[in-house]
């Protein structure tokens, strides 16, 4: 695989990823509406769809990173200044922020869920966890314990590795949807 092919692969995976991410955001809003309305059937359906899209986004990430580690050099270069703004990171993207914001109202609505709806909720939360795990897997393959894109030299950021950064995001995100069982 040459540099052009590697970049094309990275783009293809991310095109799919961003499309899935927007679907996930919409599905989360439908979960919120359904839970607020007490519509269990609609909530379960929207959760199941969100789960499928989260699983798909994890696969999209694995697909994007489906290249030899040495090819990642050109991919990483495409995501550093001047090609992108300083501190660029997918974790700070508008889309990711929108997804996180969409999670915040869900916890209160999902407290005390039980039965099939609870099972659907748990499956969705596991899928959310796996999506971050897929990100970490790709990151580890290419960057190891190196710094993230947002923490390149000269940015004044603490020297947290890309993996540590992802793990922190994972924990914060899952904490947003941690609920009590009935």
């Amino acid at each position: 695989m040459n540099a052009d092919r590697a970049l094309a692969r990275w783009l293809a995976g991310h095109h799919a990823f961003f499309l899935l991410l927007q679907g996930i955001i919409l599905a989360h809003r439908r979960v919120e509406e359904a839970l607020a309305d007490g519509d269990e059937i609609a909530a379960r359906r929207a959760l199941a769809q969100a789960t499928r899209m989260l699983e798909g986004s994890a696969a999209a990430m694995l697909f994007a990173g489906d290249m030899p580690a040495e090819c990642y050099v050109v991919v990483r270069e495409s995501m550093t200044p001047p090609n992108v703004p300083h501190k660029f990171s997918g974790l700070w993207s508008v889309d990711h922020r929108a997804m996180i914001d969409g999670l915040r109202p869900l916890r209160a609505l999902a407290e005390g869920l039980a039965g099939p709806l609870r099972a659907e909720w748990d499956a969705w939360k596991d899928a959310l966890d796996r999506t971050y795990a897929a990100h970490a897997c790709v990151c580890e393959h290419f960057v190891g314990d190196g710094p993230s894109l947002a923490m390149q030299p000269g940015t004044g950021q603490c020297a947290r590795s890309a993996l540590q950064n992802l793990e922190a995001f994972r924990q914060r995100t899952l904490a947003l949807v941690e609920t009590r069982r009935s």
């Binding site: 052009d4 094309a8 991310h14 697909f63 495409s78 703004p85 889309d95």
Partner: protein, 140 residues
């Protein structure tokens, strides 16, 4: 997803729905009608100058973009994609999302033909996830 310094990969390849700004922009104006989108796709604007002319003819779109992109400038082509392939601001238009899914699937198919180490299970998850996108949007 911006211009790259890498030779040969200087342009965005696909219309990517992204830069979603939830609930920040209304979608009840005429500019969101499906007809301009259809015309844009049919004409298939290729070069940046033509895209800029197209954008200049649609000032409300520029105004919207300013409100959502802030300090992050988009390429002319991205501006159009941002305008027409944004699920939220497009009111969940099944047509626009179906087009975007089709484009993504086409690109994935091409990549798969070139060879992929993605396992069968992950391949299924990827395709099924994209199907779920269509389902979700069609139910909005």
């Amino acid at each position: 997803m911006r211009h790259s310094a890498v030779p040969g990969i200087s342009k965005l390849l696909l219309p990517i729905p992204q830069r979603l700004t939830p609930r920040s922009v209304g979608c009840d104006d005429d500019a969101l009608a499906i007809e301009p989108l259809t015309r844009f796709l049919a004409n298939g604007l290729k070069d940046s100058e033509a895209i800029e002319r197209w954008l200049a003819a649609h000032p409300p779109i520029i105004a919207e973009l300013l409100s959502v992109t802030e300090s992050e400038p988009l390429t002319p082509r991205q501006k159009i994609y941002d305008r027409y392939f944004n699920v939220e601001r497009h009111g969940g238009s099944a047509a626009s999302v179906a087009y975007a899914v089709g484009q993504v699937m086409s690109e994935l198919a091409r990549e798969f033909q070139l060879g992929s180490g993605l396992g069968q299970q992950d391949l299924h998850r990827l395709i099924d996830g994209l199907s779920a996108v269509l389902e979700t949007v069609s139910e909005c």
